[in-house]
Amino acid sequence: MIKLLRDIIFILLVATLTFSCTKRVEIPLNTGDVKLVVEGYLFGSDSVSWVRLTRTSSYFSNEPPPPVSHAQVVVSHKTQQWLFTESTTHPGVYFLLDRSFHLIVSDTFKLRIQLQNPVGNHSRYESQTVVPPLRIHIDSLNIEYAPDFKKWMVRYFGLDFPGKDFYLFNSRVNGKIVTDSILQKVVREDVFFDGRYVSGAVVQVLNEDVMKPGDNYTLMASNITKEYYDYLTALQDEVGEKNPLFSGPPANVEGNINKGALGFFTSFQTTSLQVELKEIYDRPKVCSGR
């Protein structure tokens, strides 16, 4: 809510002043050291867990991130361990295909990566994550069309359990995830509504061209760790537009991979609710489901 208010104030201020202009500029930049980047997820039985390994590249390289192939990627829990398999079609992406793998709530899972060739002066990297319990349930959702902003706004109804919670919300339309970039994801902490029934909090804001009447919309909600919440909010800060009125200084986003590697290894479970988007009325409320 705070970020939304900041954005509203800033956008309206600048729009009101109508003096600001933008233009693209050429800026020569140095290139930093190459580092390993890890994007890793452990999911429950409903999805396949995966890890992507890439390298950093120069800021204006304008190429896809260089993949890191032929690595050994292993996840372990106590004495058990499972090996990831690299995709043949997507180099650098490793899937956990072993069906014996399952998450254990509140336990720690460790990730070990052994590279064929060093990246960032190291060949072995490690991380670990705790599996947060799934404490969120979607009672209902409501989808409004906001004509002023030309956006779909998805509202969530459900009980927030007492205790500190951090949530991640994603959207799927006709089975396809439409919130796969950082700025489209919504993360919330329950500081303002801890232990209360949440009646209509906006948890997704989607462009109008993302869906149309007749589409199946699915809201996905997950509990995430505080560390992953902090990581995502910091990423959102860094990839969003900055301004001298509200933005702090740019800063690197610390992940949870050791030896200076970038990225994050995390785990969460997801609950979801699917509805069919029926029609658009002039009135804002267009669809709800249970």
């Binding site: 705070i2 208010l5 104030i9 309206l12 729009a15 009101t16 002043l17 109508t18 003096f19 600001s20 202009c21 933008t22 233009k23 693209r24 500029v25 050429e26 800026i27 930049l29 140095n30 290139t31 930093g32 580092k35 980047v37 994007e39 890439t54 950093t56 590249s57 120069s58 800021y59 204006f60 304008n62 896809p64 991130p65 796969d180 970039s181 950082i182 994801k185 303002f192 509504f193 949440v198 009646s199 209509g200 909090a201 910091a234 990423l235 860094e238 990839v239 537009e241 900055k242 301004n243 001298p244 009125l245 509200f246 933005s247 702090g248 200084p249 740019p250 800063a251 690197n252 990225g263």
Partner: protein, 772 residues
Amino acid sequence: MLTFIVLANSGFLYSQKAYNVTISGYIRDDTNGESLPGTTIFVNELKTGSISNGYGFYSLTLPRGSYHIVYSFVGYQSRSLALHLQRDTLINVEMESVSSRLQEVEIKSESARENIRMPQMSVTKMNMKNIAEIPSFMGEVDLVKALQLLPGVKFVAEGSSGMSIRGGGPDQNLILLDGATVYNAGHLMGFFSVFNPDAVQSVKLYKGDMPAAYGGRLSSLIEVRMKEGNNKTFHGQGGIGLISSRIMFEGPLVKDKASFMVSGRRTYADLFLKLSHNEKLRQNRLYFYDLNTKLNFSMNANNHFYLSGYFGKDVFKNDFFGMDWGNATGTFRCNHVFNEKLFSNVSAIVSRFNYNLGVAEDNPRAFLWQSALTDITLKDNFDWYINPNNKLNFGFSVIHHDFFPGKITGTGKEALIDEYRLPDSYALESAIYVSNEQKIGKITLKYGLRFSIFNNMGPATIYHFNNQFNVTDSTVYDTKKIFNTYFGIEPRLGIVFRINQSSSVKASYSRNYQYVQQARNSTAGNPMDIWFPANPNIKPQVSDQVAAGYYHYFKEGIFSFSTELYYKWIHNAIDFKDHANLMLNKYLDGELRTGRGYSYGLELMLKKTSGRLTGWASYTWSRSLREIPGINNGVVYPSPYDRPNDFSLTLSYRMRKAVRLSMSWVCLTGQPVTFPVSRFQYSNTIVPVYSGRNSYRMADYHRLDLALVWDLPVKKQKKWHNQLNFSVYNVYNRKNPWVINFQNDPEIPNATYAEMTYLFGIVPTVTYNFKF
């Protein structure tokens, strides 16, 4: 300390038998009765003198005899009185403004010499009359923008009222309006200052070397004085500008005894929104207003009372959302002359800044977010003119701070929040001080001490943090209980050596404690940046500044040149961790990181104060650096205000009797910024990997502004004066970067680009001013 100074001066007291006559009184403007603080009183025969204090009072003890005493003040015709002094004498002096004489007058002022003589360093005084001639943005005469043209003073962002003085942050400036702290000096997100030009008499800037009577900030004191009100005749003035109109009335309530001043300003920027094609934009309301008032009453020669107030607010609202913020101050002051040598000023002051924002109440999920800071201050200040060679200043001040950092209340039927409130906090900030100004031949010394105490008071909740800045526990304190105390010993030392009648060298050392600061992580800041106190988790910030300077005037005071060299250390310097959360955060203390800061620089200024062409050129070379564990890997980094080269040229040329052309040109090194050096991809998004903090710079900033002030002809016997002010901001349309963002290209996968945002191109304005 007081005892020490009195004993140290006992020899002077004893020898006072030789100085058996004291002249004292008030110095005022002859047309409106306004006091003239800082007026020079010079005794030709003895080559000695004094200056009037902040209320225009002066006192000078001399041997009996005949003297020529010259009273001088910038912008006024010097007055010389031939006096045969036999006993203590009250001499109230009224001085004639140069402009009121409507003829060219050469100012061969003693005032220029005053800067040569006084031990106070790094101080500049500006009158609104001069500030009004400087080209202004959108026609809004702005004293803060004028101060930004002085050496050592930098704006924090394009168009901002925020100032960095000698490398310090904007919250390190103590801004006083008639003695009351102004916590937010900006309107409209800082693009305009809160000081209505019609209501202000003068501004005085101290760059670190503050008098012992002031403290609580590390970088500067900005003392703004409102007009007292004309106690001779009724007058008014005002103006109609592009974005605002203003009006001021002043006049006597009892002639020569009591007067009033009331002034108002209101913007109408939102009227332009009506021209927009966007219906939603047309529904927005955006304006600010100011109301300044002052009453003063002279009961008799020894007692004078002042009552002044300021109320200002910014309002921004539409059908969905509303926000307002503003300052309110009230000052009651009593000047009492105990005798011809002892003057006191007692002040009782209230100062408040608050903001409210929320969603309209008819919205089922409406909420209201409120925050405020309220100060109540009591001060008593004494000036004791012991003898011509010693002037003692002493007193005390007590400030009660009431911090209400924030509360959100759900007001709609389906509000998502009941109430969320950050714990309030309370503090007492007290100080006693004494300082003496002592003349010894060609040397004048200034030595003083300020002893400050800061008490945190209950009720309060203090959170405890471990080494990783995670909350481990909390302690709740009862109402009125003092649970934490800091104190500071703040020496203020200065020396001036007069090389000859036209040049001197000075040196100074000062220590300042700052117990209250702002949670501001951005460079320009916004009204929602709250102020928070030192507490068991946050030590007070401390600065030590040493400075040395050379001062010279030539051509009979028409030109003056000054140069100052300074070095400043800041201990317990505060910055915030990467990605700090400063809004509505109960655990704000855990977002802070402390370390050290330091800045140094060389400031040069050449000034011409009379003739058809007046103005000044200033150049500053400076650095401002920080070293804070937990930020930038603990490596030294430039502060956001580190802009090594800063040049400005401000000129005013009287083309004809009624036409003046003025210009200001500023050029300074680009702002330090953090740019990416590589990138990675996470969740289908390109994320920048940054260089060290502030290791790059934006392009250099430069801008030329012009103004033409035309006093329209006045018919004989008509009291109404009209003036047109044509102003052009950014004459050659320089696109100075406000911010540079690095973006993912929406059209080309995996492509990124840099985009500069600039705010103001060329902005011509015309303002109509009137006076009667």
